[in-house]
Amino acid sequence: MAQVKFVHSIKGMLTTNTQASSARQSQDYLYGLRGILAIESFLWLFLKTFVPAVVTNDVSGPGHQVIARKIFSPIFWNESLISSFFVILSARSVCIHFLQEPTAKTFARSLMTRPLRIGIPLAFALVFSISIFSCIDTVYIDLAAQALKNPNLAVPIMPSSALASFNTIWDVLWMVRDFGDQMANQAFPGTTMWSPSLIYSQSYTVYIAMVILPFTRASWHVQAVAIFSIGSFWFDSWGWYSAAGLFVADISHNPDLAARLRSGIKIGESPSFPYWILAVLSVTAGFVMKYLWVAVFPEHLRAELVLHPSLHLTQGLTIHNFNTGQAYARLDDYLIVVGILVLLELSTRMRSFLSSRFLVEAGKRSLSKHQVFILHEKGLTGYRPLHRTVLDVVRCQYQGVRCST
C-alpha cells in the first residue's frame, strides 16, 4: 500500500495537471518580476560589500561613486525598494491558489505547506552559514573591510553554542516583530535574514484577509482594503503592504473587479478616466520621493515617518527611535510597487516580457539565490594554499610581528 502511494506521489510530481499548469502560466510574470528583483538584490549585495559609496550615504567615497549612487541606486539597487517589493509580491502570490479555487482544501494546503517550503530551505541555509563561519578564520573579512574602507562589512556574529544555534534557526519563522534584532539576522552574512522572516510573518495577515474575499460582495472589497490599510498605516505596521498585494491579486482573479479596472473611473457623462494614468502617476510620485530622499536629502531619509499619526500620539515614540536599525514600511516604495503591479494587470505586453523564460527561471530560484549569494566555501580547493598564506600574513600583521612572504 505504502509503495502504491509512493508511486502515485512520484507520478504526481512528474505529470502536471493541465488546469493548474495553465493557471500557473498565467501568473508566470510574477516569477519574472521576482527574477528582476533577484538580479537587483544580487547587485545590491555586491556593491554594498565592495563599493559601499554607491549604495549608502553613510560611507564617503569618490565623487563619481556618489553621483552613481544618486542617479542609479533608486532604480537598480535600492535596499528598501527591493525588500518592499518582495514583501508586497509575496502577499500578491501566497493567495493565488486560494483565490483561484476558494475551497477549504486549498486553504488548508496553503497553511500546511508554506512553513515547510520556506522553513526547510532557510534552516539549511542557516545550518550551512553557522557551520562554515564557526569553523573558518574570518580575519580576511576585517582585512577586506579595511582595504575597501567599508565600516559596514562585518563578520557575522555566531551563536554561542549548539543549542543557541538551534534556537536561532527555530526562531526565524516564529518572530512577529523586531525582525532585524533576531540572532539569525546577525548570524547570516549580509544581515538579510530579517526579510524572509518578515515575509513569512506577514503571510498570516494575507491568509486571514483572503478567506473573506471570495465570499463577500466584490464592490465592497475596495472600501474594506482601504480601511484596513489606513488602520495599519496609522501605526506603520506592514499590514498596508500585505493588503495592497492581496488587493492586486483580488483584482486579477475577480472578474467584476478586473472589468472595473479596465473600464476606468466613470464620472458623470464624461469619458472614463483610465486607471493606468493613476498607476503611472503613483510610480512617478514614488520615484520622485525616492530621488528626493536618496539624492537631495539623504540625511532626512526617515523624515517621511511623520506621515504616520501614531508616532505623534504615542508617548516616547519619534521618527528617530521608531524601528531603529531595521526596515520599516515606506510610502515611496509602496507607491512604486503598487503602481507597477497595477500596470502589470493592465498591460499584456509587460506581462509577456516578464514571462520570458530567463526571468521566470531566475525568479523561481530567487530564494535559493538569496541563500547562496553569501554561502559556501567549497569548490576552490586550488585556491586554498593562497588563502592560507593570506591568513598567515593577516595574523602576523594583527599580532604586530614582522612577516615576510
Binding site: L116, A144, F373, L375, Y383
Partner: protein, 64 residues
C-alpha cells in the same frame, strides 16, 4: 558565496598579489556571479524542490 569566496578572492589578489582595487573587485564579481549561479541551481534542485515535494506529500498524507 560573497562572504566566503569573493571577499577572499579580493583579499588574496589585492593584499598578496598587489592587484589594484578595481581589478581585484572585478575578479571578485566574476567569481560571485559564477558561483552564485551554480550553487543557486544546486540549492534549488536539491533543497527547495525537495522541501516543496515534502510539504505537498505531508499534506496529502495528512488527509488519508
Amino acid at each position: 558565496m560573497l562572504y566566503v569566496v569573493s571577499i577572499r578572492v579580493f583579499v588574496a589578489l589585492h593584499e598578496l598579489k598587489h592587484v589594484p582595487v578595481a581589478s581585484a573587485i572585478f575578479v571578485a564579481f566574476v567569481s560571485y556571479l559564477a558561483l552564485t549561479a551554480a550553487f543557486a541551481e544546486a540549492f534549488y534542485w536539491t533543497i527547495e524542490k525537495s522541501a516543496s515535494w515534502f510539504a505537498g506529500s505531508i499534506f496529502e498524507w495528512s488527509r488519508n
